[in-house]
């Protein structure tokens, strides 16, 4: 089977349609992951052992099981208890929660990476705990988190093809349906690969910039 340029141009608009959905899903998923991740990180620090242990177990469960199966679960099982989400919503929530368990770790590490000396200096200068968080700990914890968070968002982007399994018409699904109706896999699949490669290479370059920019300041 030969590579067919005419075919490529013919399918490009359809693929771009799918690409838009892919980007949309990534951005919305990232937003969910950021917010839910913070909630998980805070719950993890809860002084109530039951809460922090339960949150820990659930996070570990989510991280130990495939996103694909979780998506099936959200899409096909939840309606039985009356929660019927549109495919895109189900996908965004699924991928967002899955990655929230990762971003929660980023938040946690970021906070723990601020040295103990900083907490002690805050105490020695008589700041309250709240003041220490706001003025000393968080301003130092957040910048180094940004590259790590961005890293997960790139990973999330690369997992959006899974949404095709719950009928979201994103890039991969468009490509498959083109392939199915034309009996040609080479062009659509290769193009999808190139789309992903280009976006990730560009984001990796961006990520390195971020990392340099937020390279830890030292005392």
């Amino acid at each position: 089977m030969e590579w067919d340029w005419d075919f490529v141009w013919q399918i490009m608009p359809t693929l771009l349609e799918g690409f838009k959905i892919t980007i949309l899903a990534t951005i919305l998923g990232a937003a969910v992951a950021m917010v839910v991740g913070l909630a998980l990180a805070i719950a993890r620090r809860s002084p109530v052992a039951a809460i922090s242990r339960a949150v820990g177990f659930v996070s570990e469960f989510i991280r130990g099981t495939p996103l694909l199966v979780q998506l099936y679960f959200i899409f096909y099982v939840l309606p039985d208890i009356g929660i019927r989400l549109s495919p895109l919503t189900a996908g965004v929530i699924g991928i967002g929660i899955h990655y929230a368990t990762y971003t929660a770790e980023v938040y946690r590490a970021g906070i723990e990476n601020v040295s103990r000396g900083q907490w002690e200096a805050a105490k020695a200068t008589n700041l309250t705990t709240r003041q220490a968080w706001i003025h000393v700990i968080l301003p130092q914890a957040i910048p180094p988190m940004i590259p790590a968070l961005a890293n997960y968002f790139i990973a999330m982007f690369k997992e959006t093809p899974l949404l095709s399994a719950i009928t979201v018409l994103e890039l991969m699904n468009q490509a498959k349906s083109i392939a199915n109706s034309n009996y040609r896999y080479i062009e659509p699949m290769t193009l999808v690969g190139i789309f992903f490669l280009v976006i990730s290479l560009v984001s990796v370059v961006g990520l390195r910039r971020l990392e340099e920019r937020y390279a830890r300041m030292d005392d």
Partner: protein, 257 residues
Amino acid sequence: ADDKLEQLKEQGFARIAIANEPPFTAVGADGKVSGAAPDVARVIFEKLGVKEVVASISEYGAMIPGLQAGRHDAITAGLFMKPERCNAVAYSEPILCDAEAFALKKGNPLKLTSYKDIADNPNAKIGAPGGGTEEKLALEAGVPRDRVIVVPDGQSGIKMLQDGRIDVYSLPVLSIHDLIAKAKDPNLETVAPVVNAPVYCDGAAFRKQDVALRDAFDVELKKLKESGEFAKIIEPYGFSAKAAMSTSREKLCAAAK
């Protein structure tokens, strides 16, 4: 080209692509493959001297690319003959024939009886297997892409219908009957056959370069049909042997351009 058959005999099995869409194809609780299409294929391959068939389940859309890529030796899955498919693969003579049907909510609230009806109702969403005949019929009738939902399997189709994600799920008549029977859901009903949709027949599909194998398959298929054994295999599944015997590949492949 006879080497293909020789090669299959030698390795002792043929790799066939199936779907999991009773009664055309089915996988039992024990993992055993059954269904009308594989049963016919199994008997014929046996007569050709190929002891076994090894089945792999595939999406309809992936079957022809998979065949071309050499992943399967034949497709026996209820993949209906259509002119453009006839160009892509070498079909045997017809085996299983069926019309199209809809599964929909009790009372057919949107009053859908044909693919055209779906195209005309901007709120109607149809579910169909990706790369299958029904998807094509819907698109050809003018249903826009975003209202044709690609459904991975029959069970998902019924589930999505029950959940209200789609308004109609379309498959061949026997498949729909099978699903509705299993679902035991009083809130579902069927439209069968779909108005203005043709009756289709499938055949075993081979690679273009394996015409010789196909021809050998046809010889055995003909004998099977004549001996009445053919009817014995497919009629318990609900298919009509007469329908298959009253038409031919030539007619079906040349049909409505």
